[in-house]
Symmetry: C2
Subunit: 361 residues, 2 copies
């Protein structure tokens, strides 16, 4: 955790956080096994450093479950439409469960077909994209994952309306030391980063947002509600977000564009989120061990190469994730005091033991 | 063609340009059928507006063929390793032929398996990435394509060495009016754009390149040799270029990183280029007509949505490509006078009729 100007965090053992989240989901109506699985996948996001998609989301998910916007007892259906393709109907269940099922299906199909592409509809926000790509990589396969984001904060290129989400792309490749995981939004920064700047009153760099009325950069975080997030690489990132939306949404008969439900603004509404996951079996190209050994040599060469002035390290996909995971498995998750307070309120509301009152497992 | 400050171009019918290129390839040793196919795929890049990958490259390819760096009579081998996977050994043939074979293989396999991922090695520069993704889309399938670029002009994130190419990503999705095609390099601009600015003495915006020695922006185009291209979205684009390199290169036992041959600096060397192409059959998810009708509605909604001040149109992937293609099929390819002169020199060298002497077909 190199973010030295972050507020001092509350350290909670990952297993304690996982049990807390599982208890909360049981109180919100999920069967115990499902609650445990969702909690596990959610805490994976925290461990990987994608905290905005981890336990930070727990209160929101519970709220949506209580409002009946998410089905706590879904009958998830898997329709294998060819040797390498399937459509998963999530029956409006928790996105984590639905996408995990899609990932398992993709892995199973790729074992025989070499590759599989599984589309998902009637799903929900599933947390961190990298989690699901990494699930595939653990099986010696390349994982690709994308989703229609659960709110639109970007415009099409040249447009002033919020028609695109910051649709993420995650790719995970098995490595010898640890998987190589890329998990990026198609915007320059996430909306969560903007919210953090607003909370702290810090100005925004001028390439993060533009105002919908004048098209000029927004640097005052108090004005962020008037703006759109800018995509990476201008029209390139906007184009990539659009293509991913067509593939994760339209191809699966799930909403994309103007039909996307903003799950923050409308917590009571059903989202019908679309996602897709791809599994590619490395062994159909090279023996897995040979491949992972080869890429470790390449990546170690990269890590040890000359640095630009002002950079104290070479940053490769998955390296930070691996370090954060190791550190937090050892030291515990670092939660902000505000988040810990929010989780206490949730615990009281649900009648479960408060997080900070629990001993580390 | 909206680029009003471009020099007045020489207009050549696409079919004339194709025949000229085919004649040149025959003189360089390719069998007539192969020469015609390569010429066709090359001119497709010009038609789509990716001129830096079109007939502009002809002299370079001919030069490499004459030096023996490319095999004019390859025995391309296709090894289907599973229902949905194959490895194509290009036998050092022209990249266009090798990748077109890979695309045909992917399409054929995806017809039965629903999806196919075909890796390529022992290949060469194949021109515009979008060409191959679009070949797949013509068959009612989603096409994805990437390649290890044929020279390294980017660094890993934080690094000062040219270890990454601007590895492209192309995605093509069948549409009702025309396919939706995204074709992007992972750098903010291509090296060709930098070269053009150098030729014209125009300063570079400060987010295009950094100097390897001081890490500071390079704006003087005369100094471009001292710099690295910057990736889209900082670490995100550098990460994406790296992942694509592992998938197009390392997974296929093709060079990636320090082992990549710079085909500009070393025209006599064999490149062993790695590429991959994916085909996904839309019909395994939704009936094709239903899908294309649905996305046409979505994209028309986007096109007609409110614009940001300073933008006179909404720019969606594939729209510009479609307009350019229609205009150039009607009016002819617009070649710069310098390129037309260069092609005249090539014609004399090869003893074929000069391009401007030919009547339009």
């Amino acid at each position: 955790m190199k973010d030295n100007d972050a507020p001092a965090g509350v350290l909670i053992a990952a297993e304690t956080a996982r049990r807390f989240a599982a208890d909360a989901f049981v109180k919100a109506g999920l069967p115990a096994t499902d609650a445990g699985r969702v909690a596990e996948l959610m805490i994976e996001a925290d461990l990987a450093g994608a905290a905005a998609h981890g336990i930070f989301r727990l209160a929101q998910y519970v709220h949506r479950l209580k409002l009946g916007a998410i089905n706590p007892n879904p009958a998830i259906k898997v329709d294998k439409t060819a040797a390498g393709t399937a459509i998963v109907d999530g029956d409006n269940g928790m996105g984590h469960l639905v996408v995990a099922r899609a990932a398992e299906t993709a892995i199973e199909q790729a074992r025989s077909a070499g590759v599989a592409w599984v589309g998902v509809h009637n799903s929900n926000h599933a947390g961190a994209a990298g989690t699901y790509a990494a699930l595939v990589a653990e099986q010696g396969m390349v994982g690709l994952y994308s989703a229609v984001a659960s709110a639109n904060h970007m415009g099409v290129w040249g447009g002033s309306e919020p028609l695109l989400g910051t649709n993420p792309l995650a790719i995970a490749i098995p490595g010898g030391e640890h998987p190589v995981v890329l998990d990026i939004a198609t915007s320059i920064v996430s909306y969560g980063t903007i919210k953090n700047h607003r909370l702290q009153g810090r100005p925004l760099p001028n390439d993060w947002m533009v105002g919908t009325r004048d098209g000029a950069p927004i640097t005052d975080p108090a004005r962020s509600g008037e703006g759109l997030l800018l995509p990476v690489g201008g029209y390139k990132g906007a184009g990539l977000a659009l293509m991913l939306g067509l593939l994760a949404g339209s191809l699966n008969r799930a909403p994309f564009g103007r039909d996307v439900v903003d799950f923050n603004a409308h917590p009571e509404q059903v989202c019908d989120t679309g996602q897709f996951i791809v599994a590619l079996d490395v062994a159909r190209f090279r023996p897995l061990q040979e491949f992972t050994a080869a890429i470790d040599i390449t990546l170690d060469d990269f890590r040890g190469s000359s640095r630009l002035p002002g950079h104290d390290e070479i940053r490769l996909p998955g390296d930070q994730r691996h370090r954060r995971r190791q550190a937090q498995m050892r030291d515990g998750l670092s939660l902000s005091p505000e988040l810990a307070d929010q989780l206490d309120v949730l615990a009281k509301e649900l009648g479960i033991e408060m997080l900070r009152a629990r001993t580390g497992a």
